[in-house]
């Protein structure tokens, strides 16, 4: 039997393969040879064969038949064998295979070997992949080695101990005595790993944390020595002595100083020293400064120090190095809530970052810019942000547009400015605007009564230029339908009124109906607008003609509308003026909730309004109190809800009800109200569903979950992250009813523990149709600044088969990605 080829020979051969198939063939041949060699229990070449196997494994080929061979190598007396054997074990085995347990005995022996490099191999393997059982068995050996004076072994034992603690936290206690004089070591390797070990213990146990607080002075001293010491060639990195150790010490200080005044005070000076003296020209210095800033922000530092930290971040923003700018923006985003004023001082630098070429930086800068907008800087900021919107990549436009709308709504200095800003967004990024901004804008425009004429004029002019951007077209159609009379009468005060005739306006609207650029939704808007003009214009006959033509449209939605409008002209003409009357001011829901949520919650849900009925009464307080009583008060924050509609969710629904009850002659009967799925937008107030404005484009795919499933009522939660604030989770509830009878007066309420804040937006409806024929959706926003585990208590009330049903439930099965 010729000797198996050497490793390097094999590598060379495989590299000569010109195709994948050729490579595979070579590998299969070699694997066969190796397999027979293993079968012969050949000791001499086992090492060589396993090494070759590991190479082939790296190329992506299966190597499981070598697992046992690795164990045999580990058990061998030869160092070369052990080296490859342990490497193989780390690459091919993990705790999922039973085989790895067979290593325990070998590792135990090797931990007591006379050669430190063998002991090192064992420690490394145990510290890398040891299972809980192995850790339990061998913890004692590790602890022994932690106390040795051999620094090579001591540092490895320390990190091995870290692994043991991670796997079996109960064993932490046994390492406590060995930590006694770890910090008095001179060897940097031991020092570093000791700090890691101490950090691990402090993070896992509050008792350990309290116990180790006394180390603060010693840690401060070590850090000071590192900074003041002269050049040490062994540890120097660009003029800084052992940056790895410095950073780890800073991190441990952070943990020890958090929520502890004395410790924080003891480290104050050294932090200031590091912050002011560290060289910033290279990445390494900035890495230390970055860690220092994180520490300062986390402990109970005095305000001067905090300002220093934020200024460091501000300087980072001016650094040429992209990485540093990125890191600065990320950190500022985290601190903007707590140290808002300090971050404001760097606003102009942050805004400059919007022009950066790097995509990651641009995104961070955009998020931060929106967070910094306030009543004082709105005009200037908006100019920059609109300029950004004009020139940025498409991936940013949707988020930017939403952000502009929110900011404008919160801080608009005047209505005219507000409308102008909206117009600017619609005309420059109109196709990227989220569909659900359309209803919000409509509401806004409706409520700006004195601007109606100006708004409709500007929108009309925009339509003349470009009808491709659907959100713009939809808003414009709606406005023209509402305020067309102002348009033709030339009443505009804000600017020169245009001269336009009724026919010209109708031409434009009809143009939208036939254009290929218009989506079905847009066509719906235009048809309705045309209809509304029948009570505002005098050319009623033309409108009647258009409406009757679309009565045979292929588009079912358009057809249905046309038919119903036709009916309005014929049998219900006496109702037409009242139904098509000007929309009243839609009541803006009060911006409830604490300031943290207000940032991303400019979104006001229009309460459900119909031409004839008054807006529903808001009744948050008594219901919140009920929930509090039931939950026993102390650790729960009352839900702050937006309006709970007492009527069906839409004026369109009302209209349908009206028509549905009466029999109609001619044409297909419109679908009666109950069987219309409640998630469909109603006619006149299109798209007014409660959906969040912010959807994280890079949504991390948080899995959805079933929160409640009882008596035929099933409630699922789906998740999104609100942008720009990553601490807000946006949960949409989906309620379905599998029973035969519908559930009416359905109300969903929720409460969360004190560290969270919660906001419920309006539900899509109060009626959950039977037999899963439709879904009621409602949006919940949860602010979770401390990233604690999300828990919720929910209360459901509804009427089913004539009787009132009420139920409470706890929701604890939130996926970790929703709150981490």
């Amino acid at each position: 039997m010729p000797a198996p080829i050497r490793l390097r020979e094999l590598i060379r051969t495989i590299r000569t393969a010109r195709t994948q198939a050729e490579e595979r063939e070579m590998i299969q041949k070699e694997c066969a040879a190796i397999r027979s060699s293993f079968r012969e229990e050949d000791n001499t070449y086992r090492c060589r064969n396993v090494a070759k196997l590991l190479y082939m494994h790296m190329l992506g080929y299966p190597a499981h038949f070598g697992q046992l061979e690795c164990l045999k190598l580990i058990a061998s007396q030869k160092f070369t064998d052990k080296r490859i054997g342990y490497l193989g074990a780390m690459l091919l085995l993990d705790e999922r295979q039973d085989v790895h347990l067979l290593m325990t005995n070998c590792i135990k022996n090797d931990l007591n070997h006379s050669t430190q490099y063998v002991q090192g191999l064992a420690l490394c393997t145990l510290g890398c992949m040891g299972s809980s059982e192995m850790c339990r068995d061998l913890a004692g050996e590790v602890e022994k080695l932690l106390k040795t004076s051999n620094s090579y072994l001591r540092k490895k034992a320390a990190l091995c101990a870290v692994h043991v603690i991670r796997k079996v936290p109960e064993l932490m206690e046994m390492f406590l005595p060995a930590t006694k004089n770890l910090l008095s070591e001179k060897n940097h390797g031991v020092l570093h790993t000791s700090v890691v070990l101490l950090t691990e213990m402090c993070e896992r146990s509050p008792d350990m944390l309290a116990h180790f607080r006394k180390l603060v002075p010693q840690l401060v001293r070590i850090l000071k020595n590192l900074i003041m010491s002269g050049y040490s060639p062994e540890h120097d990195v660009s003029g800084i002595s052992d940056p790895f150790l410095q950073v780890r010490i800073l991190r441990l200080l952070r943990i020890l100083g958090k929520s502890d005044d004395d410790s924080s005070e003891a480290m104050n000076d050294i932090l200031a020293q590091v912050a002011t003296n560290t060289e910033t020209s290279k990445n390494v210095g900035n890495a230390i400064l970055y860690e220092t800033v994180l520490t300062i922000m986390d402990i109970k530092s005095e305000s001067g120090l905090r300002v220093l930290a934020i200024n460091i971040l501000g300087r980072f923003l001016l650094n040429n190095d992209k990485n540093i700018r990125y890191v600065a923006l990320t950190s500022l985003l985290k601190t903007v809530q707590t140290d808002h004023n300090a971050v404001q001082r760097h606003r102009s630098t942050i805004v400059d970052c919007l022009k950066d070429l790097d995509v990651s930086i641009k995104r961070r800068a955009m998020e931060l810019s929106f967070a910094l907008v306030n009543g004082n800087n709105i005009r200037g900021m908006m100019k920059e942000l609109l300029y950004f919107l004009d020139s940025c990549d498409p991936e940013f436009k949707a988020d930017c547009a939403s952000g502009v709308f929110l900011a404008a709504e919160k801080y608009a200095p005047s209505k005219r400015w507000h409308i102008d800003t909206i117009m600017r967004v619609l005309t420059t990024a109109g196709s990227y605007v989220r569909d659900d901004s359309v209803p919000n804008l409509i509401q806004l425009i409706t409520n700006s009564v004195e601007m109606h004429a100006y708004t409709v004029q500007r929108l009309y002019k925009a339509l003349l230029d470009d009808i491709s951007q659907q959100p713009l077209v939809q808003v414009a159609s709606w406005c023209i339908g509402e305020y067309g009379d102002l348009l033709v009468s030339g009443q505009c005060e804000e600017e020169e009124p245009i001269q336009v005739t009724e026919d010209e306006v109708l031409d434009v609207l009809e143009g939208l109906l036939v254009s290929n650029l218009s989506t079905p939704v847009t066509r719906g808007y235009s048809l309705t607008a045309i209809m509304k003009l029948s009570t505002r214009f005098s050319s009623v006959n033309r409108i009647k003609k258009v409406v009757s033509i679309y009565g045979s449209s292929i588009d079912v939605e358009l057809q249905q509308r046309a038919v119903e409008y036709n009916a309005l002209f014929k049998k219900y003409d006496h109702m037409r003026p009242a139904l098509l009357e000007r929309m009243p001011i839609m009541e803006k829901t009060a911006s409830n909730g604490p300031t943290e949520i207000v940032q991303t919650n400019g979104e006001t849900e229009p309460s459900t309004v119909e031409a004839k009925h008054p807006p529903p009464v808001t009744q948050p307080t008594n219901q919140a109190n009920d929930l509090l009583d039931l939950l026993g008060g102390n650790d729960v924050v009352p839900v702050i809800q937006t309006t709970i509609p007492t009527k069906p969710a839409s004026a369109g629904g009302e209209l349908l009800d009206l028509l549905g009850d009466l029999s109609l002659s001619g044409g297909p009967a419109p679908a009666p109200a109950p069987s219309v799925p409640t998630s469909q937008p109603p006619f006149l107030l299109d798209g007014l569903t409660s959906q969040p404005l912010f959807n994280d484009i890079a949504a991390a795919g948080i899995p959805s979950m079933t929160a409640y499933n009882k008596n035929g009522l099933k409630i699922d939660f789906t998740f999104e992250r609100a942008n720009p604030n990553p601490n807000i989770a946006v949960i949409t509830i989906h309620a379905t009813n599998s029973t035969e009878a519908e559930m009416t007066d359905f109300v969903f309420q929720a409460a969360v523990p004190k560290t969270f804040q919660l906001q419920l937006l309006s539900p899509s409806s109060n009626l959950v149709p039977a037999l899963n024929q439709g879904t009621v959706t409602q949006v919940i926003r949860v602010l979770n600044p401390q990233k604690q585990q999300l828990r919720m208590r929910i209360k459901l009330t509804y009427t089913h088969k004539g009787s009132a049903v009420q139920d409470l439930a706890e929701v604890n099965n939130f996926p970790p990605q929703s709150w981490q």
């Binding site: 590598i11 090494a51 190479y55 790296m58 190329l59 992506g60 160092f79 070369t80 080296r83 490859i84 490497l87 993990d94 705790e95 999922r96 050669t115 490099y117 490394c124 510290g127 890398c128 992949m129 540092k155 490895k156 990190l159 091995c160 870290v162 692994h163 940097h188 390797g189 570093h192 790993t193 890691v196 060639p233 062994e234 540890h235 120097d236 990195v237 052992d242 940056p243 790895f244 950073v247 780890r248 990445n283 390494v284 900035n286 890495a287 970055y290 860690e291 994180l294 992209k322 990485n323 990125y326 890191v327 790097d358 995509v359 990651s360 930086i361 890079a698 991390a700 990605q817 981490q820």
Partner: protein, 147 residues
């Protein structure tokens, strides 16, 4: 479930060929293959002068290109990316010192040594030794034990 600070370290070239894989958390073969694929797809298209940091799932990805090899590490959310760049750089320096002007071929033909050096520098996702000299001293001494 807070795991290691460094979840994995990968070395691959511009053609997407893997040259080294170190996993600091238990990861199945299938999972490993997926991560490798994702990293290659994320990193290779990056423009030359962009930021060295990326977000991927719940991790921060830090990568740096040295000649024909990409060094790519997956970090926890709370970790210091700037320091991670220094960790990658230190590893390259250690390889360079051991092999003398290290290039991709050295790592291809001596991959086991690349692993041994890594295991003297990092353990369990943490830095084990911060001295520039100690790692090479250990390697030289251990090499003399090879039969």
């Amino acid at each position: 479930n807070r795991w290691r600070k460094l979840r994995f370290l990968l070395l691959f070239n511009r053609q997407g060929k893997l040259r080294l894989q170190k996993w600091f958390v238990p990861t199945s073969d299938r999972e490993r293959k997926k991560v490798i694929r994702d990293m290659i797809m994320l990193v290779l298209p990056r423009q030359p002068r962009t930021c060295n940091f990326l977000r991927w799932k719940d991790l921060k990805i830090v990568y740096k290109r040295y000649a024909s090899l990409y060094f790519c590490a997956g970090l926890e959310e709370q970790d210091n990316e700037l320091l991670a760049l220094e960790v990658l750089h230190r590893y390259v320096e250690l390889l360079d010192k051991y092999f003398g002007n290290v290039c991709e071929l050295d790592i291809i033909f001596n991959f086991e040594k690349a692993y041994f050096i890594l295991d003297e520098f990092l353990m369990g996702g943490e830095v084990l030794e911060t001295s520039k000299f100690a790692v090479n001293v250990s390697m030289e001494q251990a090499d003399t034990l090879q039969e």
